[in-house]
């Protein structure tokens, strides 16, 4: 069926006129599959007929359930998909033909995709580029290596410089720096934005900053998290950056090179940009490399230090199947932890003990299996963001602390979780 929506003013008129003899029939047609409650009005706004929805309650009073749960399943599904389509269609196409200036962004592109940090950074770039609607700038993304991302335009990129040569692969700061210097010479962007992430832009951005300005070096803003317009500043912006290991806020004029933290701006979600490929006219001079990348080294995930682990699978007294536990940790890619009791009983090494008397952990997700939650243990996981508990006893303290708790046999639940992850991984590989 055609996606183009054609209006029929007469039918719309009938639909509005409840007294028209054909009113119900027209409503049904407009609403699609017999549900006459909702249709798209003349101005593109959803209209509702409250008379056609709802049900008669036990007291003979008509009730309308606005949660949508009572809706006919199919109708609900179709209306939601329509809404989603509408949201997608809502993106405005933007094509900046003659930009007043350029904002260069070097995304981290971890795993070949734009990370959420990259998207925030591009949102920041758009703020800089679109500040003056009369004279918009263009966002140039410099992408190194192969990428899988197909929503470059949606992220707010106007131009793409794609450098896919072998010499940029892996850790090649010297080659990349030479490329960025070439971009600087040729395009002379007004702003350079990089993510301040350990192995993304933090390294490259600092190198770049010191290389710019004819060898004098630009003093970049690092750990930037906020910008605001300021007419007095050289580039028209002021920024707030984190200094002194995150304990200081520094307010300063925005320099040419900025290394921004995650969530420095909202990602682009209303426009779709052209993402036109752009190639450099000059060849990039090859840099002498004194650093050779010999590739990644296999590291046992279990060897990651507990205090730094992002995801911890922790076992306690309630774990009976330790083989299953270790296997689950392996499949989930989790670092293993344990309660004091499990350590005392010799199931797991002492340096894996979590708690006030063991290691204080800072994991983003802490999955506690069969741990009832002694106070010392709960103290040790204070700074974990999300705690998930699997336990047989619904009254234990760990359940009270947990953001998500599942009551049941830990071995079974872990096994089911492992199966689910394996199944999903398999599926992903097929798709890829």
């Amino acid at each position: 069926m055609s996606e183009i929506y054609r209006r029929d003013p007469r039918r719309e008129w009938i639909a509005r006129n409840r007294l028209h003899p054909e009113h119900t029939r027209v409503l049904a047609e407009l609403g699609g599959l017999g549900a006459t409650s909702e249709w798209l009005g003349p101005n593109g706004v959803i209209r509702k007929n409250p008379h056609a929805i709802g049900f008669i309650g036990p007291n003979g009073v008509k009730r309308i359930d606005r949660s949508g749960a009572q809706q006919v399943g199919q109708a609900a599904a179709s209306s939601i998909s329509a809404a989603r389509q509408a949201a997608q269609d809502n993106r405005r196409n933007v094509n900046i033909e003659a930009p007043a200036f350029l904002v260069a962004v070097v995304p981290e592109l971890s795993g070949g995709r734009l990370s959420s940090h990259d998207k925030d950074l591009l949102g920041l770039a758009r703020r800089l580029a679109d500040a003056d609607a009369e004279q918009p700038g263009a966002v140039v993304a410099i992408l190194f290596g192969k990428y899988k991302e197909d929503a470059l335009g949606e992220a707010g990129i106007d131009r793409v410089v794609h450098l896919d040569e072998e010499l940029y692969a892996g850790f090649a700061p010297e080659a990349r720096l030479a490329a960025l210097s070439a971009v600087e010479r040729e395009l002379a962007p007004r702003h350079w934005l990089l993510p301040d992430s350990p192995l993304g832009g933090a390294d490259l951005g600092r190198r770049l900053a010191l290389r710019l300005g004819g060898g004098q070096g630009e003093r970049p803003a690092t750990g930037l998290w906020q910008i605001e317009a300021d007419a007095e500043a050289p580039l028209g912006w002021r920024c707030t950056t984190r200094g002194a290991a995150g304990s200081l806020d520094i307010q300063r004029p925005l320099p040419r090179v900025a290394l921004a933290l995650a969530e420095c701006a909202e990602p682009v979600d209303e426009t779709r940009h052209a993402a036109e490929p752009l190639s450099l006219a000059e060849a990039i001079p090859s840099a002498l490399s004194r650093i050779e990348d010999l590739g990644q080294v296999a590291v046992d995930p279990a060897g990651v230090a507990l205090a730094e682990a992002e995801f911890i699978l922790s076992g306690g007294n309630g774990v009976k199947d330790w083989d299953g536990f270790h296997y689950a940790a392996k499949v989930l890619g989790a670092t293993e932890g344990a309660s004091r009791v499990a350590v005392d009983d010799g199931f797991i090494a002492r340096h894996r003990q979590v708690g006030a008397t063991g290691t204080w952990v800072t994991a983003r997700v802490y999955l506690a299996v069969g741990i009832s939650g002694a106070i010392q243990h709960l103290q040790g996981i204070q700074s974990c963001e999300k705690v998930v508990a699997i336990n047989l006893d619904p009254g234990c303290d760990m359940i009270k602390r947990a953001d998500l708790a599942v009551i049941g046999d830990s071995a079974e639940i872990l096994a089911a979780l492992v199966a689910k992850v394996e199944q999903q991984r398999g599926g992903q590989r097929d798709a890829a």
Binding site: R340, V341, D344, R350, A356, T357, A374, I375, Q376, Q379
Partner: protein
């Protein structure tokens, strides 16, 4: 014949003993100088021996009597023998006395022999096994050779062979008793022990005639001002000379070993072996000759040392392994049990000081805890500004606001521990019920320095103590009350040396006082059976065994005492930084303690220490609940009868208020 041989033998033995004594004294003199009042010590020595030492020995009645007979008999016999046989004063009276003394000694040695027949594991074997025979040889031969002197037997009775046999036996006995005394035999304990009592490094620990019981448990401070002074003990010769002398006094009776919680838990520590290792190190050599129980898991014969060589090697082995020193919970059970008054804990902390301050090698979480203490003034690394967060709703009066109060409530680092906060809340409730005028230091309080000091970090301890003393000097208060026996001990017994003298009460003592002053009234106890665990730092360190029991009695609780309670209480495993250094053993100390609790059948174990609470509550599948006495008291509080409330007995303990003067 005998008349000629005996004096020669006796004086030869005495001469050899004198040479040995000189050599032994030279060994001790390798140690660092110590200030000791020699004359006063020698004068006090008999009393220290007869009263204080015997007070400890008499805990084992049979052994005490055996020792009285043997040692008393020997001393008398030796004196008389020198007179009678050595100087030839063949007086029948003296001879009779000598006969009696040697007979007494012989009877004593029979008992010694009986004990050696099936010796308990704690006793050392080796040369000690021949001691009863030596004692018998000496006493019997002296007895027999004295018989002619008193005329019971004619002078020329028996044959030459018999006389020779007698002389041989006497030579053996004399050799063991005099020669061995100073040349390192089992009898060394008598010589070194006597001098050790006289020149003890803690003369204040002995009782006096005025009825003072004598207690000295605070660690001695290092002089950090003097940059040339060594930090702790690296080699045996870094001990003070009287410490070395003390090690030599050890009789290897193994009472310390039997009392040591770390040894029982299979951690590599045996206090007796440690002292013997120090003796080995003092003379130089290997521990191969040691004949008692080894450090659990460490065979004898692999370690050796020398007077000026390191005790703990940075790599490999030396005299002692570091983990042996870090196994100690500083519970003082060994010191309490030691009949020779040896100070094991002092020696261990001295050696730990070197490991921490010079090696920088505090095991496991030790380094982290010390760093936290330096940076945040508490071992957990918490924000020092959040010390009072737990009491946000309690409106505790701050010393900074009120400037003076009757009672300064010292919260301790338990203020950061969620479990201990319950205890603190209970204590505040009790104080308020008794209308005690109190205040807290709040964020001005710091860790008392207990853990830092016991982990050997004297520098951090003195820094914390110095700042605490400066803070306390700003305010006026009658006394400090705390629910943490460790703070109690440090504030009361260890700050004095650094210039902070306070009257400190443990909360149980204070509650007992309040109850006795009729300022608290309790509902009768309805719970089940209860036992009480004596915290080491309250009991052995400060002698407070009564007050907690008085409080529990006031609550209407009948205690089921554990077999090891009072001064024999077994440590919970939480002292001396042991949970931080966490040396692995075969068992856990708190598990053993909860088993002790289980044996009494108690449903609840009352404690008076945050460490004990944490350690005992950490026991899985425990048979008893763990509650602090403050919690029990707070739960039982009832309003006092109205008539009582108006009585003058309710005014602050020991203080006349200003209003009453007018």
């Amino acid at each position: 014949m005998l008349e000629i041989l005996l004096p020669i033998l006796i004086f030869a033995a005495l001469a050899l003993a004198a040479i040995g004594a000189w050599r032994r004294i030279r060994l001790w003199r390798q140690g660092r100088p110590a200030e000791v009042d020699l004359l006063r010590g020698l004068v006090a020595m008999p009393r220290r021996y007869l009263v204080d030492l015997h007070h400890v020995v008499a805990r084992d009645k049979a052994m005490s009597n055996t020792h009285v007979a043997t040692a008393g008999g020997f001393v008398a016999a030796a004196m008389l023998m020198i007179l009678v046989h050595g100087l030839g004063l063949a007086n029948p009276v003296l001879g009779g006395l000598l006969l009696a003394a040697s007979a007494l000694m012989f009877v004593g040695s029979l008992f010694v022999a009986r004990r050696r027949r099936n010796p308990p594991a704690r006793l050392s074997k080796g040369p000690w096994m021949r001691l009863p025979k030596s004692l018998m040889a000496f006493s019997l031969s002296v007895f027999l050779s004295t018989l002619p002197t008193v005329g019971v037997l004619p002078a020329d009775v028996g044959s030459w062979i018999l006389a020779l046999a007698l002389v041989a036996a006497l030579a053996w006995g004399l050799g063991e008793m005099f020669f061995g005394m100073t040349w390192g035999g089992p009898m060394k304990h008598a010589f070194a022990g006597a001098l050790h009592l006289a020149f003890h490094r803690r003369p204040e620990r002995f009782s006096d005639k005025q009825g003072g019981t004598g207690r000295s448990t605070g660690l001695k401070a290092l002089n950090l001002e003097d940059t040339s002074a060594p930090l702790g003990v690296e080699t045996p010769s870094d001990f003070t000379w009287n410490q070395l002398l003390g090690f030599d006094a050890c009789v290897q009776c193994g009472r310390c070993e039997a009392a040591c919680p770390a040894f029982a838990a299979g951690q590599p520590l045996n206090p007796k072996k440690l002292i013997q290792d120090m003796v080995v190190g003092m003379a130089g050599g290997s521990d191969a000759a040691y004949a008692g129980s080894p450090y659990p898991g460490k065979p004898v014969g692999e370690h050796a040392g020398e007077p000026h060589g390191p005790i703990v090697a940075r790599q490999g082995t030396a005299l002692v392994d570091a983990e042996t020193l870090w196994s100690c919970t500083t519970c003082r059970a060994c010191v309490e049990e030691c009949p020779m008054m040896i100070e094991h804990v002092d020696a261990i902390v001295d050696m730990r000081r070197f490991l921490t301050l010079e090696h920088g090698n505090t095991p496991n979480k030790g380094a982290e805890v010390l760093d936290n203490l330096i940076a945040t003034d508490n071992p957990g690394g918490f924000d020092p500004g959040s010390r009072l967060h737990w009491a946000a709703d309690l409106n505790l009066p701050l010393m900074a606001d009120v400037k003076q109060a009757d009672v300064l409530l010292w919260l301790g680092d338990g203020a950061f521990d969620m479990r201990n906060q319950r205890t603190l809340r209970a204590l505040v409730k009790v104080l308020r019920a008794a209308e005690v005028e109190f205040a807290v230091l709040g964020n001005e309080e710091r860790d008392s320095g207990d853990v830092a000091r016991r982990l050997g970090d004297e520098a951090t301890f003195q820094s914390l103590a110095g700042r605490n003393i400066a803070t306390l000097a700003k305010y006026r208060f009658q006394r400090i009350v705390t629910c943490d026996p460790h703070s109690f001990h440090v504030l009361g017994n260890e700050y004095g040396e650094l210039g902070g003298n306070y009257e400190v009460r443990h909360h149980t003592t204070f509650i007992a006082e309040l109850y006795d002053a009729d300022r608290l009234a309790f509902a009768p106890w309805k719970g089940g059976t209860v036992t009480y665990h004596d915290p080491c730092y309250l009991g052995r360190y400060n002698g407070e065994y009564e007050a907690p029991r008085r409080v529990l009695e006031a609550l209407g609780i009948q205690l089921n005492e554990m077999e090891r309670s009072g001064f024999r209480s077994r440590c919970c495993g939480g002292g001396g930084g042991a949970p931080i250094t966490d040396i692995p053993g075969e068992r856990r100390i708190p598990d053993m303690r909860m088993n002790d609790v289980k044996e009494t059948g108690a449903e609840l174990v009352a404690v008076g220490c945050p460490q004990c609470t944490a350690m005992l509550e950490g026991v899985v599948d425990a048979s008893a609940e763990v509650r602090d006495i403050a919690e029990l008291v707070a739960d039982a509080l009832v309003a006092r009868p109205i008539a009582d409330a108006a009585s003058p007995a309710r005014r602050p303990v020991g203080k006349t208020t200003a209003e009453e003067v007018f």
